[in-house]
Subunit: 352 residues, 2 copies
């Protein structure tokens, strides 16, 4: 499966023949290389290295990782211990994005329903579920795009941070899906692409996707969001999310909070686009979201070239938290949630 | 002259024997190379390429550029035309920093006082003046440092943006001079160094200077200022300036405005450190400051490596404007100016 079904939604992963193939995103845009993952260790490594990244994408990759981990079990008595082991391995890769934990939780339900039927049944059930999760994510993203597109007027200049497109999901994207849908509807004049240091997901990945889609964009440094808004050049902002707390506080790529503060000052609408699986109702607010700290060299080296004096130490928070009060709306597959988010989030999950 | 007189203030330029030597800052921190400038064209090129950069430093470099331009004139009748030509050449290099125009204006006064005495007298007068400007800038910066150091309490964690140290001036620095003075007084625990995209003056130059000075620092991406302040890890901010308008609005390196907006939200004091020569009383406010736009490739290439897909166009404003309302104080050689700046700036220039 997972051959690109249409040019607007390719998938950065595919399950073919022997196992999982992932588009090696650390090499984009210079090279388009697919890597083979035959073991859950390889999937965990790819997630840690950011070969596959983006909250929804790592959820789906982890689902396939469970399949790879369970399909080598022959002894029914080993199934449960192995499931715990693989689940722990995949779950420990990245602490902030909650879709990973959410996918592993759904995988556990599939496991429990099939475990009594033996190893082959477990693998078959997990694979069917992982494929469905993969396809479902694309369907969800298209719905997010439809809901989000209604928020923009014609001629909008939309700013986004990091990468939230097909590459960050199973296909189509969240925030970038919204931008794509709005562009289809003739509402987007131009996209401002924050380059998104340190790993340049905006410059490398979002620019790559927008170029493929033929959507007009200009790249800017993260430092430029302020002057763009001060000059009235930004009509709206859409970003993704790695975890949304029950009160609407949102963890996303480092620098998102800064964009939100600027948007608030300038009266520019600031939207978060994410599937409901990114909302973690067990996390009451942003202060309870663990923020991953990554290694110094991601900052001090750019594509292997050192940019700072030897021995320079950098502090590298991978995410920050945007408080709910700065968020105009949260675009989900069930519609656009509005403040107060405690209530609208509960409603999205079917509570009165 | 200009051999480093003490380890706290080396100079990125020196007048030795045949002409001007500039530390080639585009190659730092990997290489410490000095380039020879024998003509004003070479000085203009060095300013444009940012081999020498920082508002005070380009003012002094332009002064030496005038000397280089005038010393080849033999015919007294050619003096005035040549002065206009060289002045125009140097003045057209960069539009935002006002110290350049200020220095050329002072040079014009020196020229007028000496022109009737012939070519040799003009060159001698300009050289004596340029040397004095060079030495005066260091004295001014030390005074800025003394005034600024009084603003910090012990254990301060101070954030700075771009490079404003010895490298950006004739020596000692403006904002980084303040940090150095405060650190000498035992008031600075750590410096947060914004890397300052696109040209990474923070990562390349400020880190290099702080390392030499032995002042503890951590490098961060520009995207990190928000989370640092949200976590209470920043006690104060000091930045330099390229032009300060009569009402206190301040143009400085792109991204400065963003830091100021964040500081305002978090109640963190935000100071600008600059000599009075950076204040342009002929510019009424920030809207009247021309903002230099530089080439796209400064963003799309990092040390020659392409970071974005081919044909990606970037928008590259080199500066932004921080409105006076976000500035806690402007640290000058005559003291710390406070709002309302129309009045305190007029007072600094000797008006009642």
């Amino acid at each position: 499966m997972s051959e690109p079904r249409s040019p607007d939604a390719f998938s950065p992963m595919r399950w073919e023949g022997p196992g999982l193939q992932l588009l090696e995103q650390t090499k984009l845009p210079a090279e388009e290389v697919w890597i083979d993952c035959d073991t859950p260790e390889q999937v965990a490594d790819a997630i840690r290295r950011l070969a596959v990244r983006g909250a929804p994408a790592i959820g789906v990759a982890a689902a396939y990782g469970l399949v790879l981990g369970m399909r080598t079990v022959r002894d029914p008595g080993r199934l449960r211990a192995r499931f715990e082991e693989v689940s722990e391995l995949l779950g420990s890769t990245r602490p902030t994005a909650v879709n990973l934990r959410w996918a592993l939780g759904r995988g556990r339900e599939v496991f429990e329903r099939s475990v009594d039927q033996g190893p082959e049944a477990v693998t078959a059930a997990l694979l069917a579920w992982a494929r469905e999760l993969h396809a479902e994510d694309v369907r969800i993203n298209r719905r997010i795009g439809e809901h989000g597109a209604t928020l923009f007027a014609g001629g909008s200049r939309v700013l986004t941070h990091c990468n939230t497109g097909s590459l960050a999901t199973a296909g189509y994207g969240t925030a970038l899906g919204v931008i794509q849908s709005a562009w289809r509807d003739g509402k987007v004049e131009r996209v401002w692409v924050d380059e998104t240091r340190p790993l340049l997901q905006g410059a490398r990945l979002t620019a790559w996707e927008l170029k493929k889609l033929g959507i007009p964009f200009r790249l800017v440094t993260d430092n430029s969001a302020g002057i763009l808004m001060a000059r009235g050049l930004v009509d709206g902002i859409v970003v993704g999310a790695d975890r949304i707390a029950a009160n609407g506080d949102t963890a996303n790529k480092i620098g998102t909070y800064t964009v939100a503060v600027l948007a608030h000052r300038h009266g520019v609408p600031f939207y978060v686009a994410a599937p409901l699986s990114t909302i973690d109702r067990a996390t009451p607010n942003g202060a309870a979201i663990p923020i991953e700290e990554r290694k110094s060299s991601e900052i001090t080296e750019v594509f292997g070239t050192r940019i700072a004096p030897d021995e320079t130490e950098a502090l590298n928070f991978a995410f920050d938290v945007t408080p709910a009060e700065l968020i105009t709306g949260i675009i989900t597959e069930v519609g656009v949630l509005r403040p107060p988010y405690e209530r609208s989030i509960a409603g999205a999950f079917g509570e009165p």
